[in-house]
């Protein structure tokens, strides 16, 4: 028993050093050498970090493409989903409110045209992506607000579709909006 305990203690110390210190430092070093993104892929504009490529931001202004609803208000320091069940009446009321808000800001759009990812919240609360259809359906609103031809904005959306390998085709909302700001 005593011998077991002594061996266990020493073994534990060694294994903590191996897997709790050396292993992560090794991966960290590999990251420094092979990946320029190991701090989280920041996007820098005018020497200021305006965001991280993979971290969604809150867009509520009519002049920007909206991302998905978020139950944590896109708070990237405390992320999470709604965890509402599919039949929860409070949740369904929330979805209804999102539909109403969207229709209000996008006159001319019919209810059945709204893609479901625009009225449901992701598990992370900071999903950086939307489906391509969710971007197309906002083109008209943005064209009106920005006073730009619809075709130009649609072309921008076309270029922004990311056909990721082994995943769904998506559009990164932050990157799309950054490009939108550069349009003349």
């Amino acid at each position: 028993m005593i011998k077991n305990l002594k061996s266990s203690l020493i073994l534990t110390v060694i294994l903590i050093l191996m897997f709790g210190v050396v292993y992560p430092l090794g991966i960290y070093t590999i990251g420094l050498v092979f990946s320029s993104n190991s701090v989280g892929s920041p996007i820098v504009k005018n020497e200021q970090i305006v965001g991280f490529e993979n971290i969604g931001q809150s867009f509520t202004d009519d002049k920007y493409f909206w991302g998905r609803p978020s139950t944590v208000g896109y708070n990237a320091a405390s992320t999470g989903g709604s965890n509402k069940g599919p039949t929860n009446p409070d949740y369904l009321a929330e979805v209804q409110a999102r539909i109403d808000t969207f229709l209000l800001h996008n006159p001319g759009v019919k209810k059945e045209e709204i893609p479901s990812d625009l009225v449901t919240a992701p598990g992370s609360g900071i999903d950086p992506n939307i489906s391509p259809n969710s971007a197309y359906i906002q083109v008209k609103r943005i064209a009106v607000v920005r006073n730009l031809p619809e075709a130009q904005i649609k072309a921008l959306v076309d270029q922004s579709i990311e056909n990721t390998v082994l995943g769904m085709p998506v559009i990164n909302v932050l990157k799309l909006n950054l490009k939108l700001d550069e349009l003349k």
Binding site: G40, I55, G56, T87, N177
Partner: protein, 566 residues
């Protein structure tokens, strides 16, 4: 396309598991492998800690060693969690110490390979904790399961001897030879796909729209790799692999999903190589895969169908049910992950199980309740072994012969142990849920006082059932709407995890020890051949009867009722 992707992920994983299984068998036997350059390091470790890796021990000595070192780890992680405020380095976000019952739950959770998380990583754990306590335990708790399996294999291969090998030897080599190399490979894949690995604290930024936001990050890649491979599942961030830093795109999603299944499947192939009974391993893989698909296919159907309540609002859902799911993964890849993570005891998620459509919740729970389709690293096959003993016993009764298992007589003691272990699981799940429901019912105004349930009605019951199912199966996923960071849940789920971990290791190792001492009886015409399709069917039936029938009443009260009320 997603259907094709899913098929690719499953097929590639099984194909990779074959050579890995062969390699694992060599590691267990101490044969030469390509990674022998680790040997001097291992020798040094054994020398310093005073362990003679070649001295063989019987089942009692091995279990003592296993339990002692697990206790030491428990004390270490408790200490780390309770002293976070004073961590000397790697705490840039100044995370505070955990509350004691939460620390107890977290400590048990990581020692038992469960990784149920009643805290949220970005606000509840310092980088020091994440690496020196949590990631460390993700290696060694997985290593414990693998080492236990190595002892079991030895017991099955032995003829009339007491020695099952050396636990320490297998523990260290499971970590250095199996988990570490695979983790490095996966971590590199993650790094190349923008998963962060940094010791810088959170970054405060001003967004495009002018909001000030703080973005949590950290040494993510290293931890995500081992949490996926070691059927751990404890994420760096609260929402686990739904978080775009843990799982940025389709490639990482596929790699992480494959990593969930890889080692558990490889362990079954390892059995075939170890005992030189490849056909037996194919039969077991077939049974496991049939069970996996039986749960996976209806879940995919349910999720792609969308939420009927939202359809009623006039939203067409060609994308399927999207609440709790990321746009980049969609319903099919989320369903694939959710069943992969529940049949194995992984528990990581790439979507929120609480928000899946009603019946999918039942399939996820069934994966954990049956707990034998692939299962955890090491312990997955150990659970299957219990079902095999029961299947052999029942078959024996049917033909009126003393049952035999791989040339050893199965007698009263072995069967008693197997039945007790098999019945513990439903006892913990149903007993725990009953206790929680009772507490809820006798409390006046429970919604205000207890505040557990995030959803009313049947779904609320499902949240409690899911929590105990996940704890007893050492899974670690959750219907996360459950407000589980209270003393009641921290302690009760903690006890369920402890019993659900150690009894199903102790029992089978005892059986292996008993079988190991028995004389080998050559197969005769009357022997039930384990490597036959007949036995496969028998095994599958036993799992369904013993497992499913016990749980169906509870599932009817929760997800099935919810489904029927739509």
């Amino acid at each position: 396309m997603e259907f094709l992707y899913s098929a690719i992920i499953i097929l590639v994983t099984i194909l990779l598991a074959v050579p890995l299984g062969r390699y694992v068998s060599k590691v267990f036997k101490g044969e030469k492998t390509l990674l022998d350059f680790f040997e001097p390091i291992e020798k040094l470790i054994f020398k310093v800690s005073g362990v003679n890796p070649l001295s063989e021990m019987d089942w009692k000595q091995n279990l003592k060693a296993l339990l002692t070192i697990n206790l030491v780890w428990f004390i270490w992680i408790m200490f780390v969690l309770l002293t976070q405020t004073w961590h000397p380095f790697w705490n840039p976000d100044n995370i505070l110490s955990m509350e004691p019952t939460q620390a107890f739950n977290t400590a048990v959770s990581f020692v038992t390979n469960t990784n149920l998380q009643h805290y949220s990583g970005e606000t509840g754990a310092s980088y020091f904790t994440q690496l020196l306590a949590l990631a460390f335990l993700q290696f060694v708790s997985a290593g414990t399961g693998i080492a236990a399996l190595a002892l079991l294999f030895k017991g099955l291969a032995n003829k009339s001897t007491r020695n099952l090998g050396n636990f320490y030897y297998h523990l260290v080599r499971a970590c250095t030879r199996i988990l570490l190399p695979l983790s490095i490979v996966l971590a590199v894949v993650l790094l190349l796909n923008q998963t962060p690995m940094t010791f810088k604290g959170s970054e405060t930024i001003v967004t495009l729209q002018g909001d000030t936001v703080s973005v949590a990050r950290g040494p993510v890649a290293a931890m995500v790799a081992i949490k996926q491979l070691g059927t751990n599942g404890g994420g760096f961030f609260g929402p686990n692999s739904t978080h775009p830093f843990e799982n940025p795109n389709g490639i990482t999603n596929a790699a992480e999903n494959a990593a969930i299944l890889l080692i558990p499947i490889a362990m079954v192939f390892a059995l075939g190589y170890y005992l030189n009974r490849k056909k037996l391993s194919y039969i077991i893989i077939a049974v496991m895969t049939a069970g996996y698909l039986m749960l996976l296919i209806p879940t995919i159907v349910q999720e792609t169908g969308g939420n009927p309540k939202i359809t009623q609002m006039g939203i067409t859902q060609p994308q399927g049910s999207m609440e709790g799911k990321e746009a980049g993964f969609g319903p099919v890849l989320s369903a694939l992950w959710s069943i992969s993570t529940t049949v194995t005891s992984n528990g990581s998620v790439n979507s929120m199980h609480d928000s899946f459509t009603a019946l999918s919740g039942a399939f996820q729970m069934m994966g954990m309740q049956l707990n034998a389709f692939y299962g955890g690293v090491g312990v997955g096959f150990i659970n299957m072994f219990i079902f095999m003993i029961i299947a052999v016993f029942i078959s024996g009764l049917m033909v009126g012969r003393t049952p035999e298992f791989l040339g050893k007589k199965i007698e009263v003691r072995e069967v008693k142990i197997a039945i007790l272990v098999a019945l513990l699981h439903p006892l913990l799940i149903l007993g725990g849920t009953a206790l929680a429901s009772h507490t809820w019912m006798i409390t006046e105004n429970p919604g205000e006082v207890l505040k557990w349930l995030n959803n009313p009605g049947f779904h609320g019951f499902s949240e409690m059932l899911y929590e105990f199912t996940s704890a007893a199966a050492n899974n670690g996923s959750g219907f996360e709407g459950l407000g589980d960071n209270t003393p009641f849940w921290n302690i009760s789920a903690g006890i369920a995890m402890l019993l659900g971990r150690y009894i199903p290791i102790i029992g089978p190792i005892m059986i292996a020890g008993l079988l190991s001492q028995k004389k080998y009886i050559p197969e005769s015409a009357g022997t039930l051949k384990l490597d036959s399709g007949m036995f496969g069917v028998m095994l599958f039936a036993v799992i369904l009867i013993v497992g499913a029938l016990l749980f169906i009443p509870a599932l009817v009260l929760g997800p099935v009722s919810e489904y029927l009320t739509i």
